[in-house]
């Protein structure tokens, strides 16, 4: 049921500060230390000097360079500082790098008491018992220690549902990218929250980033489509464009588009090009002028192989795609992916591997051609159909349309914990490893697109002499993690 109460409207200062004081800062005691927003912004300006995410990425985009983005998150601040220092000194990541820093999953779900217990437990055990850094429990001063320990721009990875207090702390510490997500979070990490509520929460994050930027600390929040790791290209694009529009309404002028990829060179490049193009187009069309988008590639978010050698292949192929696509952002996973959260050693190795891919590949790009144009055209048709339907049934309001689309069952993807997802979609890979709709449920695919997917699946069926079905879907989920 869509209440229609959440619309795509900018939060007024009054509303913003009311929410801030009533809902956000009281969530945990560390909210107190950031009560004075102007003071926070002033501190952030100084702390982020020379390592601003927006400025660094816009420059990289202008100059055709790539920014490597390792990830890190451990229970204790000491571990964070040690890990960041290790990677920055053991590799050539400075200056063309940035950090993707994540909190633990208790923090992501506002279970700060559990996170506190996890901190204690980690101290006792002498190792990280949390899967990330509990930013809210530690608060702004500890976050600033991390800022000072790094020579690179820092991005705070979003929380599962409500990232507001965590965002406040991160930005006040001089980290210059939070997240502007909505459907992304529902699909990836949530079970019961409504999309309307998620959008309401996200609007706060977006407005927060915009306020920092308006007051002189440029921000580049991440607009991501990491999702379940098993989603079709069109759905990725659709998520990006809807989130782009919602964030733009809140005044966000620069967004990093972190695309989950499916590991098909052509389809991924086509997807990202369409996504970036439509982000610009729909923002413009809906009256948001001057919004900049920076395209990035997030390494495959499906299952990884449990051995170094195969993981190295994944890391390399994940680097080939952004280089050949000409996309500035290259997020990195490492050899530890199948086992546990990344170690500092693993991240350093991955940075070196990726950096050498840059050396080898230089400015080589995938040349334009028929095949790429077809793939782009198909994705574009699909995404436009969805976006236009959204605007139509939302009476021009993307937020309302999006919520209604999910409720009506035609905004849909595969295997998510989110109970509001219709779940009628099934995807398989085609003969070239591109993802295709086996079942498209109620997704409003233009006939041409539906036909294209069907034909592509038929090619694989012919090649493998077997029918595509649920078995193939399940196999494909493990296609890149199964060792021979």
């Amino acid at each position: 049921m869509v209440t229609g109460k959440v619309t795509n409207t900018r939060l007024s200062d009054d509303e913003f500060f009311r929410i801030r004081d009533e809902e956000v800062l009281p969530q945990w005691e560390t909210g107190k230390a950031i009560r004075d927003l102007d003071e926070c912004i002033a501190a952030a300006r100084e702390l982020s000097e020379g390592k601003n995410h927006a400025l660094r990425f816009l420059e990289a985009k202008r100059e055709g360079r790539h920014i490597l983005i390792p990830q890190f998150g451990r229970a204790l601040t000491e571990y964070m500082i040690e890990g960041i220092g290790f990677v920055e000194s053991e590799t050539a990541i400075v200056p063309d790098g940035a950090w993707n820093l994540y909190s633990d999953s208790y923090t992501r779900k506002q279970e700060f008491a559990k996170a506190a217990a996890g901190i204690e437990r980690s101290r006792k055990e002498g190792m990280s018992m949390l899967n990330g850094w509990p930013i809210v429990n530690f608060g702004v001063e500890e976050a600033r220690r991390i800022t000072r320990a790094s020579r690179l721009p820092l991005h705070f990875v979003t929380c599962d549902e409500d990232a507001r207090l965590a965002s406040e702390i991160a930005l006040a510490a001089g980290w210059t990218a939070n997240s502007v997500t909505s459907l992304q979070e529902c699909i990836s990490h949530s079970k019961t929250i409504t999309l309307e509520e998620e959008i309401r929460l996200m609007q706060y994050d977006a407005r927060l980033a915009a306020i920092y930027a308006e007051k002189g600390v440029p921000q580049c929040p991440w607009n991501t489509s990491h999702l379940t790791g098993y989603d079709i290209a069109g759905y990725h694009c659709f998520v990006h464009v809807t989130e782009a529009v919602l964030a733009a309404e809140q005044g966000v002028k620069c967004q990093f588009l972190s695309h989950g990829i499916n590991m098909n060179l052509l389809q991924d490049i086509a997807m990202i090009r369409v996504s970036e193009k439509l982000c610009y187009e729909y923002c413009q069309r809906l009256g948001y002028e001057g919004v900049e988008f920076i395209a990035g590639v997030f390494p495959f978010l499906g299952a990884w192989p449990p051995r170094d050698d195969e993981a190295n292949a994944m890391i390399a192929w994940n680097a080939v795609i952004p280089v050949l696509g000409g996309f500035p952002g290259m997020i990195l996973k490492c050899q530890d992916e199948a086992f546990a959260t990344p170690t500092k050693e693993g991240m350093a190795r991955s940075v070196r591997l990726a950096k050498h891919m840059l050396t080898l590949m230089g400015t080589q790009r995938l040349p334009d051609g028929e095949a790429l144009r077809t793939e782009e055209a198909m994705i574009e048709l699909e995404v436009r159909a969805m976006l236009d339907r959204c605007l139509e049934i939302g009476d021009g309001d993307m937020a309302v349309g999006l919520c209604r689309g999910v409720a009506a069952g035609w905004v849909d993807t595969m295997v998510t914990p989110w109970k509001h997802n219709p779940g009628k979609v099934l995807l398989v890979r085609d003969a070239e490893n591109a993802l295709r709709y086996l079942e498209s449920g109620a997704v409003p695919l233009p006939a041409e697109v539906r036909e294209y997917h069907r034909a592509k699946i038929a090619e694989r069926e012919a090649r493998e002499r077997r029918k595509a079905g649920l078995d193939m879907v399940v196999q494909d989920i493990q296609a890149f993690s199964t060792l021979p």
């Binding site: 996890g118 086992f339 295997v415």
Partner: protein, 141 residues
Amino acid sequence: MPSGNIVIGTIGSDAHMIGAWVLQKALVGAGFNVTFLGAVVPQEEFVHAAIETDADAILVSSMYGMGILDCEGLREKCIEAGLKDILLYAGGNVAAPLELDRNWPEIEKRFKAMGFDRVYRNTVTPAEVVAALKSDLRLEG
């Protein structure tokens, strides 16, 4: 007589559900009656579902690394609810730091101490899980 009823889900704040989903398909394929709870499942919900369905076993998936913290106390809750002998398996990526994941005997020790019958790494195949269940429940292969 075992019922062949199995409860499966991902525990705690953990949103990963694909592994449990795949496992569920395999178990259904092998003839079990499966109650699939999805992800982000509190301990209470596991116990409740096990009672409701007269389950032989609870399969707890934990992927996000905080499985040890999330699983503590589950056996006690089972006992309180009268499910003293229910089989408890855990599986996935149960340890956040690699040093612990590499030290598998230590993980096994801890899960055994928590009252789990078996614990598996994420490299286990669904077939191995089916075989273990059949053997523990004395169902013929």
